[in-house]
């Protein structure tokens, strides 16, 4: 059944048992902390992603949101994949995920890079749902920039 491509077990698992959910204060008072709130205006899904950086390292990525299984599972996977990593590595993963989602189902994901993110390969076949999967990743990018890593903050819309 086609649906299985979209709702892979991994996605449903992350949806029902999200990892790292809930906005957290930074453990290290010296950490730079910033967040971004993104909304999908067509469906009303919302997410807030908070990034705490320790130099060039993403010390914590916490989030809270309201939305469908795809957007919420995607946030859980993002947390799991990127927390604790260096900015360079994290943005390589970010880029791979965005490429996968923009590939209309034609991109074969690399599990070594994307981990559970490979489960979203099927989502890329559903244009209406790509935005759901990308919502937390776009919010993360803005939050990270505000916390001083990744894209220059001037590129970030308010």
């Amino acid at each position: 059944m086609q649906l299985d491509q979209l709702y892979q077990e991994i996605i449903l698992d992350h949806y029902k048992h999200p990892h790292g959910r809930g906005l957290r204060d930074a453990e290290d008072p010296q950490a730079r902390v910033a967040e971004a709130h993104h909304v999908n205006p067509t469906c009303g899904d919302e997410i807030t992603v908070r990034v705490a950086t320790d130099g060039d390292r993403l010390a914590d990525i916490s989030y809270d949101g309201l939305g469908c299984s795809i957007s919420q599972a995607s946030a859980s996977v993002l947390h799991e994949l990127l927390t604790g990593r260096g900015a360079g590595e994290a943005f390589a993963v970010h880029q791979a995920f965005v490429e996968l989602m923009s590939g209309r189902g034609q991109v074969t994901p690399d599990e070594d890079v994307l981990g559970d993110g490979v489960a979203f390969a099927g989502v890329a076949r559903y244009p209406a749902r790509v935005k759901c999967a990308l919502l937390p990743w776009m919010a993360f990018k803005d939050a990270a920039a505000r916390a001083g890593v990744g894209a220059s903050p001037t590129e970030v819309k308010a």
């Binding site: 649906l3 469906c43 009303g44 899904d45 299984s69």
Partner: protein, 434 residues
């Protein structure tokens, strides 16, 4: 559906006009297609309706045989196109019982129609010599409701910002009805216009407007009714409604996209300043200034959607042929059936009236805590097309404490089998997200 014996002497079920649904379905080519390997079950007519062959044929024939611009040519094709365009206006006028054909302004859609009225207020407010009924300033009030589509909220918010007027609104009750308890305090001598939805696109509520109209007349305000979800589904009579303006859109009533209607009392349209300037809407133009045509031309600047208007006329013919009473009754039966059927689905919560009285065939619901996007996706895999999201009525979602809803909506071609397919699909959703 639960049926109750009706006392003798009262109108019986058999007295209502009926039509052959199978024959109607045969008119809609799209209903034959498969979606994801399943027979199409289209439950999204509140979003847009399908178009019968009779309408598609008129659209094609217009371009194939009569294509020309309107109101400006002496040649034969131009005359044919103008006659077809104006003929469509006459059909639309008759369909809503407009006292005069000139009271029907063709627009792009309901949104544009509401914006024309809002901008007429705006423009009048800048001109001291304009009709005082359209002049707004600080202290004046605009009244809408919490159950409006965004198209009947945002234009008024923008108008209030431009003029300094205040925007107020009727709340919605827990059962999804308009809360009229504060009518006397809400609609007052300060009110210049009340703009209300006739049938809610999200709750399905059909608003009884008589008490509001009476109050609007008492205080000397104007009344606009957004009939986008009522004109396609029931007989609507502007004289009977006693409104000042109504708006509706072609694509929800078996017509094409890109064509909508603003109906206004002739005397009011004549008092409104123009909104869009350009060709066709003028009387005379000099380099320094212009004078304007009488309505409806005053509000139809530029080349209008000609073929779309002609095809809307065909849609009106089609619906008239079936009979709007019959359409209304068919949907009432479907709604009663669907409300009963949906009540059997565990953890399903209906937003809006739970009984098929004072409501249309649009039912929004939540299924446990499964997000509507996920509900819609699983249903789509089974060929069932519903709308999910905030339905361009975010304040209603906020009112009921949810970010989004799933909505099934019916039309003259909808069958009880399709409602059964929806219920079966919802069971499937529950299995995936147990």
């Amino acid at each position: 559906m639960t049926t109750t014996a009706i006392p003798e002497g009262m109108p019986q079920y058999d007295d209502v006009p009926r039509f052959d649904v199978a024959a109607v379905r045969a008119d809609f080519p799209i209903l034959d297609r498969l979606v994801n390997g399943h027979r199409l079950v289209y439950l999204d007519s509140a979003n847009t309706s399908h178009k019968p062959r009779q309408v598609l044929d008129v659209l094609t024939e217009h371009y194939a045989l009569h294509n020309a611009n309107v109101s400006r040519s002496v040649h034969t094709l131009g005359t044919e196109a103008t006659e077809a365009y104006e003929g469509a206006r006459a059909k639309v006028a008759a369909f809503v019982n407009a006292p005069s054909v000139d009271e029907v302004v063709f627009t792009k859609n309901s949104t544009e129609a509401i914006n024309i009225v809002a901008y007429a207020f705006s423009n009048a407010s800048l001109r001291p010599d304009a009709d005082p009924r359209f002049r707004l300033g600080p202290g004046d009030e605009i009244v809408i409701s919490e159950m409006e589509h965004h198209s009947n909220i945002v234009p008024w918010q923008l108008l209030a910002e431009r003029t300094g007027a205040t925007l107020r609104w009727f709340p919605v009750t827990d059962s999804g009805r308009l809360d009229e308890s504060g009518l006397a305090e809400l609609v007052t001598e300060r009110t210049k216009i009340v703009s209300l939805v006739h049938t809610s696109n999200i709750l399905g509520t059909v608003n009884a407007t008589a008490r509001i109209t009476e109050r609007v007349r008492q205080v000397g305000a104007l009344l606009l009714l957004d009939c986008s979800q009522s004109v396609p589904h029931m007989p609507v009579d502007v004289v009977d409604l006693d409104a000042d303006f109504i708006v509706f859109t072609g694509h929800k009533m078996c017509g094409p996209t890109g064509i909508g209607v603003l109906w206004g009392r002739g005397e009011l349209l004549a008092a409104m300043p123009p909104v869009f300037g350009g060709g066709s809407m003028i009387e005379t133009v000099s380099m320094a200034r212009s004078t304007f045509a009488a309505p409806p031309a005053r509000f139809e600047a530029g080349t209008p959607p000609i073929a779309e208007a002609v095809a809307l006329g065909a849609a009106v013919d089609y619906l008239t042929g079936i009979g709007m009473r019959a359409v209304q009754w068919h949907e009432k039966e479907l709604t009663a059936y669907a409300l009963d059927a949906l009540a059997t689905v565990p953890e399903l919560r209906i937003f809006g009236p739970a009984v098929p009285v004072g409501r249309g065939g649009t039912i929004s619901f939540a299924l446990g805590d499964v997000h509507p996007h996920d509900v819609g996706q699983v249903l789509d895999a089974l060929g069932v097309q519903v709308r999910v999201g905030h339905h361009c009525a975010k304040p209603v979602c906020t009112r009921f404490g949810v970010p989004a809803m799933t909505r099934a909506s019916f039309y003259l071609y909808t069958t009880t089998e399709e409602i059964d397919a929806l219920v079966a699909g919802l069971e499937q959703v529950r299995k995936v997200f147990d």
